[in-house]
Symmetry: C2
Subunit: 259 residues, 2 copies
Amino acid sequence: MYGAAQAIAAGVLSGHVGLLVSMEETGYTGGKTHRLTTLLADWNVAKAKRIGASAVKLLLYYRPDLKDIASRQLDLVTKLADQCIEEDIPLLVEPLSYPIETEEHYFQEFAKLKPHLVIETARQVTALPLDVLKAEFPADLNYEKDEGKMAELCQQLNEVSRVPWILLSAGLDFELFSKEVEIACKAGASGFLAGRALWQEAAQIGSRTERMRFMETVSAQRLRQLAEVASAYGTPWFSKLGADKDEFTPITQEWYKSY
Amino acid sequence: MYGAAQAIAAGVLSGHVGLLVSMEETGYTGGKTHRLTTLLADWNVAKAKRIGASAVKLLLYYRPDLKDIASRQLDLVTKLADQCIEEDIPLLVEPLSYPIETEEHYFQEFAKLKPHLVIETARQVTALPLDVLKAEFPADLNYEKDEGKMAELCQQLNEVSRVPWILLSAGLDFELFSKEVEIACKAGASGFLAGRALWQEAAQIGSRTERMRFMETVSAQRLRQLAEVASAYGTPWFSKLGADKDEFTPITQEWYKSY
């Protein structure tokens, strides 16, 4: 959300790109092993709609196995989803799994748990009326090297997700992310939403000129490359919802009266 | 407004074009010589914002010399302008002058009155908090042939308009409209909004193939030509408002709290 109004006011947002704004406070309350998402104070879906946002995003820390916390997190999604329906703006939810034990040896255990966590989260979260799931890759590439297995896990995620889903980058190295996007799209994902995987190296470049050159060349090329992968293998959002592009419900002349 | 939801649902609206939707009932009440604009029932600015409109349009029959009717028309604009501020969506108002006597000989009189009517209308209507004036050309080209005089009238219109203004085509022959756009833009207009001047001949073509070909060739070329004229001579909207593109008010990090 930081920078949305500035980007609009400076006129740097090209008219053909959508604007996705976040609703949550950065971080979490409840402690590192029991994370609760908080909405930004003095900010809401109606305001996002008013500034001209194309869609709304909620980052949601989520552990399906922590029943009490998970239930409160789902309540938050429901509340936001109701507001999004009221304002007729799409809601994208980005659940993030996290380790709930802090011992060193646990991290390898967490990597093993990850497929189950990500898939179960997709099942629980997409039962709510949201529009797009921004999902983690359902495997940790530091531990899982079998592409056949990765594809199978993505297919499982695709089966349980009731809405179109896209892949988040989590700041992964670009080449690895690119591989993930291809596997996910072939398994039913509708695309990706990448940030750091595209530009993280630029943040380390001290010279503004060099930094901008990196963004304009390397980052732009990475984005084009991922877009080609998604276009080639991804599932259109309407297909995921069981619709045919040429068979949308016909709209009557008096649609606006009951809208 | 007719077709807005259909165009959205069919996916034929390119992402880089804006969607302007109208708020008024077609036609007028009050009689041919005392025209009152009525808003569409069961339709409003909030709904327009919800469907994703970029701006809202009001066609307003207007005779500044009919004080009582004019006052009621201005009340309607004020009401709509308040709703547009509430929803943070731009309001474009399109006042149309009209003859108030029906005798044959009066039409030449009306042509003589037109410059005064259009300019006085611009003065009265733009005193209200709207964003763009869609103005008639302040002369009837069937009677006024002096381009210097036309330029002078457009400058007068520009001086009294407190907001950016664009020219409407009123179904004028394309070549004449193109001339008007050039004169208006050189006098301070920010562009044009053309419908029939671009495609009216197509409506007479029976064959769908031929009709589409006309739109794709002649109409598209006309639009490109007008856009070039407006880009070359028009005044940017922010300049008309006295702002410099690089000097917009800075936006604070906590802008959303008071938005």
